[in-house]
Amino acid sequence: MITEEQVLAWLELSATVMAENKEFLTDLDAAIGDADHGINMNRGFSKVKDKLPELAGKDIGTILKTTGMTLMSSVGGASGPLYGTVFMKAGQALAGKTELGSDDLCTLFQSGRDGIVQRGKAVAGDKTMFDVWAPVVEVADANRGLEPLAFLEMCVATAEEARDATAPMQARKGRASYLGERSIGHIDPGAASSTLLLAALRDTIKGG
């Protein structure tokens, strides 16, 4: 089972990962957007990191909801409301939980994906972060029986594949859509940041 301390450790690691990948995400966004995705994510997760001390001892639902509200009010751009909604919805769905099994992780991913759709109305193939979340939810659902680490390994592998599969897509949502065919050949920045978050969760659990 994943403990409340591990969820906090995940968010802390996410802040580190976003800081380390600020240039990488911004460069992806420079190719098909406005070169701010890494800056936005780093700003948001460094705010989340500041909040973590006061979240110690809280239930996982509250931790995720507070994370969502913090991202919502600090990221800006398109990804702010999207990630804000992901974590707020997940927090609502997991209200009161103090540990998470693979079933709960399914719930987390599902409510996250649904939040993205509700806010951004993306469909498969639009070249957005939805293109990572949707297949992850499917694979997660089919592997609920696995232990969290094995389960997360499957999810991360799926996310990485799905992230790379956004490259040949032509963007139909967000800023990248203005490029038309010129958006083809580049990985979607939001798909990349979503994969980083998932990998950070796996790495947290792997680290014990």
Binding site: G77, R119, Y178
Partner: protein, 353 residues
Amino acid sequence: MKKIINDVDRVIVETLEGMAAAHPELKVNIDPHYIVRAHKGNKVAVISGGGSGHEPLHGGFVGTGMLDGACPGEMFTSPTPDQMYECAKVAESGKGVLFLVKNYTGDVMNFETAVELVAGENIAVQAILVDDDVAVKDSLYTAGRRGVGLTVLMEKIVGAAAEAGCDLDTCASLARKVNLNGRSLGMALTSCTVPAAGKPTFQLADDEMEIGIGIHGEPGIKRMPFKRADEITEILTTTILDDKGYSRTLREWDRGAGDWVEKTLVDKDFNEGDEMIVLVNSMGGTPLSELYVVYRKLAEICKGRKIKIVRSLVGPYITSLEMQGFSITLLKADAEILQYWDAPVRTPGLQLG
């Protein structure tokens, strides 16, 4: 990169502090960032916002006859819902809140979240989008036309209607009408540099220009060899005048249902005999003298097409930092639109009447 700044991370805060010092008629809040009038009116609160870097838009348009509040985001990045929510709570006076939102995915999603938060407080609220950039052809395979020059005219006209005591629904319908009757197109000679990025957003060679550039350096309609003012003006003006039938499906807030409803709206064509309000706008780095060179040709083309320019505005009103370039906005004006255009306005960025 040479810029008149102290610290890249404090540009927006220091801009706001400077505005507060220069304009005691404004109240500037730093955490979260928003600007409201020092003395709020008993009226519909008209609020806008967006990424910074387009000054005087939006903060410079807060004041009598125009906006009640503005929410500046980071440079070229949309502001966040908590800013909009706090701004609305401070600016509203029981007559409701109207958000005027430029159509960019980030702005739309953040403002939609803010609408839900404000509605959750039992405050009547609506959000109307402005999407006037004819550089974007279709709305089916893109995020739709972007909000550009028409935003300035919409804020002026709707702000005047709210000042005159119109209710929320009347102000919202007027904003929708302005949006469906206005079109813009811009061009750039140079890129611009976001302070935190430290390098130009895109590259344009010395002998090149880009048509259809939006207000952040978005990819345009085409990049072409740099031409004389008359030829550039002709390209922009005729593209705007000949644009027909743009259709899009937008979301508006249904107060009764407490949910979003989709609306399909189609732009009105421009025709011979139309009366227009015209904005010739600098992207920040193009001098007024050059804007008048453009205006001269624009007036000639309109005359030839039997289109009557009844009001004009020339200058830097919606900019892209220090970008060299300009945009043209044409708004078909009826009696209602003209009445509110002619109403007095007193803001740091615009004074008329």
